[in-house]
């Protein structure tokens, strides 16, 4: 299966106005959150590495919105969007980026390491591909404990060339662990274009490990959600893992330190014409579910919500130096 030749229009069955409103809000929130995060980095409020998710929102929202509370999520280091989509309080996510005590990891993790036990978010991982075997184990435990839970593992196209990708896919298929492998293919592993990184179409690699594997348009939130629903149905029926490759694009550099020498401005401009938020906006407008007034109100709401995250994060205290050794070991 390949990317659909023409972008779908209309609203398919099952996508209620509430769900569409939710998805539009989530995507817009993520984008504004990341734009403001970039500003905070420039202001020095956020340090270290910062990888913005702008452009890829439909992947997180379309897929993670389909998960149940008992499901697990483990992902890579461009994960602010995933954490938001999973329902983690974005104030605490922002506070983590600020390195504050109120952050998801009390300021110990940083941008690349967002965890939340309550929402079963098992990180934010910054060794490319290194979290994939862990996903197999998370799912293995759920299976052994008889839980009706799926582990969704998100990774980028850059992770596919790592050995751990192949070990993890192989084990998940051999052991029929309930894993949803979700590849966000944004075309570049840092600055390396896909064709210099992977010798085959990514979804075909998963087929070789005998699991259903599809490629979807990652700029179509509705399509991503439909594919994810289908995948989860398959996995929950006890059939083992499922693989989705979502074709997407990142508008900003790999990190804030990226001079983007490896691609042209024209390419980015061209790809932005396929913007996921714009596409959902048009589909909702076409179906009479959105008008200018509602859109403006949404934009205003998101602006306020993100501002609240920043204010909350900035008001959160610095961790006490006396807590430096907390949580190296558990007693």
């Amino acid at each position: 299966m390949t990317t659909q030749a023409t972008a779908p229009t209309g609203i398919p069955e099952g996508f209620t106005p509430d769900l569409l409103d939710y998805m539009l809000h989530q995507m817009l929130f993520m984008r504004r959150f990341e734009e403001r995060t970039g500003e905070m980095y420039t202001k020095g409020k956020i340090r270290g590495f910062l990888h913005l998710y702008i452009g890829e929102e439909a992947c997180a929202v379309g897929s993670i919105s389909a998960l149940q509370p008992q499901d697990g999520l483990i992902t890579h280091y461009r994960e602010h969007g995933h954490a938001i989509a999973r329902g983690i309080d974005p104030k605490r996510i922002m506070a983590e980026l600020f390195g504050r005590e109120g952050g998801t990891s009390r300021g110990r993790g940083g941008s690349m390491h967002i965890f939340d036990k309550e929402r079963r978010m098992f990180g934010g991982h910054a060794i490319v591909g290194g979290h994939m075997p862990v996903a197999v184990g998370l799912a293995l435990a759920d299976k052994k404990l008889g839980k009706d839970a799926v582990t969704m593992c998100v990774f980028g196209d850059g992770g596919v060339a790592e050995g751990e990708f192949h070990e993890a896919l192989n084990l998940s298929s051999l052991w029929k662990t309930p894993v949803l492998w979700f590849c966000e293919n944004n075309g570049y592993g840092m600055g390396l274009p896909l064709e210099k990184s992977i010798a085959n179409d990514i979804y075909k690699l998963a087929e070789a490990y005998r699991m259903p594997s599809i490629r979807v348009d990652g700029m179509d939130v509705i399509g991503v959600r439909q594919a994810t629903d289908e995948a989860l149905k398959h996995i929950r029926a006890g059939n083992g893992p499922y693989f989705i490759e979502a074709m997407t694009y990142r508008y900003r550099g790999h990190s804030m330190a990226d001079a983007e020498l490896y691609r042209t401005k024209e390419e980015v401009t061209e790809m932005r014409k396929n913007d996921a938020i714009e596409r959902l906006k048009q589909r909702m407008t076409g179906a009479g579910l959105l008008d200018d007034a509602k859109w403006d109100a949404l934009v205003e709401r998101v602006e306020r919500e993100v501002a609240e995250c920043i204010d909350w994060a900035d008001a959160s205290p610095q961790p006490q130096i006396s807590t430096l050794f907390d949580d190296v070991y558990r007693e």
């Binding site: 994939m132 075997p133 862990v134 184990g137 293995l140 052994k144």
Partner: protein, 325 residues
């Protein structure tokens, strides 16, 4: 008390922990049908079935990573890495994931994983199959490192490892698997981590070892007594992290001399750590610099004579002691 070989004592610990706790399961290369490359797990597949004794593919990184995930998500896995040499393949998982998950998550997710592996040279297995890397693993905060020297300790410490909330690197010296010793058969027999043991009391020198090197220490102490009329105190560290340095310091304050014995390479190694801590805490009691008797600074040669020369021996320890008198 029954007398068991160390491999049998380890097997008893695994079996008892599996009976005690349903969450315990085992993964590893050829640990099931084959019986384990050092036969530690022989018979456990028949007793507990393939759900709890999983024969894995040769994929150390994938399997250790799966162990980490299962540990985080409610189970108590033991992963056997056939030998410590192959743990390099899983290094990313052990270091970047197992040792840091708790800290990076701000205390939310701990990793109660037991990683067993055989170590040590002496069997002419050449440079890639003869490593002793205990000190390397002890370097990382977040890991615990256990090195038993005898069957009873092996059992008591392995049972303790399954009750720990943190990743435990459990290193078994391959030359000790057939070593016999009395082993308590009480199901509640569990040893604490971070408690060194004085195996032999003495007054002239403290000889510190762990795992396999404890036996060189004991043999050299006997030689010192027989040949030189010197009284050596021998300490078995048992765990490198947590480290019971107090027992070593207490002994050095009595003997005023210290030799550390290990199979591992000397340069940047664990004997250097012991030496530094003794210097920091007992400098005024030392009559001579702390001596290190370690594996020689070469990749392990295959040839029997060369390999013998590369490993520390009891004669090396005796020589080191005589040099400090």
């Amino acid at each position: 008390m029954p007398e068991l070989r160390m491999r049998e004592a380890l097997r008893e610990a695994l079996r008892e922990e599996m009976l005690r706790d349903d969450r315990v399961f085992l993964m590893g290369e050829d640990i099931g049908a084959y019986g384990g490359s050092y036969t530690v797990t022989r018979g456990l597949l028949d007793e507990f079935g393939p759900e709890r004794v999983i024969d894995t593919p040769i994929a150390e990184s994938g399997v250790v990573g799966a162990g980490i995930g299962a540990a985080i998500n409610g189970l108590r896995p033991m992963v056997e890495i056939m030998t410590i040499n192959f743990s390099f393949v899983a290094f990313d998982q052990i270091i970047n994931n197992a040792s840091k998950f708790l800290y990076m998550s701000g205390g939310q997710f701990n990793v109660p994983l037991v990683l067993r592996m055989a170590a040590g040279g002496g069997s002419q297995l050449g440079a890639t199959h003869s490593h002793s890397l205990e000190g390397l693993y002890a370097h990382f905060p977040g890991l615990k490192v256990v090195c038993p020297s005898n069957p009873a300790d092996a059992k008591g410490l392995l049972k303790r490892a399954f009750r720990d909330e943190n990743p435990v690197i459990f290193i078994e010296h391959s030359a000790l698997y057939s070593l016999k010793g009395e082993v308590p058969d009480d199901a509640d027999y569990v040893l604490e981590f971070g408690k060194a043991r004085v195996l032999r009391e003495g007054t002239d020198v403290t000889i510190v070892g762990y795992g396999g090197s404890v036996h060189q220490a004991l043999r050299s102490a006997a030689m010192l007594e027989d040949q030189e009329q010197l009284s050596a105190e021998v300490i078995d560290l048992r765990t490198l992290r947590p480290l019971d340095i107090d027992t070593v310091i207490q002994s050095v304050k009595k003997t005023n001399r210290c030799v550390v014995v290990e199979d591992d390479w000397q340069f940047g190694g664990f004997a250097g750590e012991i030496s530094a801590q003794v210097m920091e805490r007992a400098f005024d009691w030392l009559d001579a610099p702390v001596a290190r008797v370690s594996g020689k600074d070469v990749p392990m040669p295959y040839n029997r004579n060369l390999e013998f020369a590369a490993l520390p021996s009891e004669e090396d320890v005796v020589e080191a002691v005589l040099a400090m008198l």
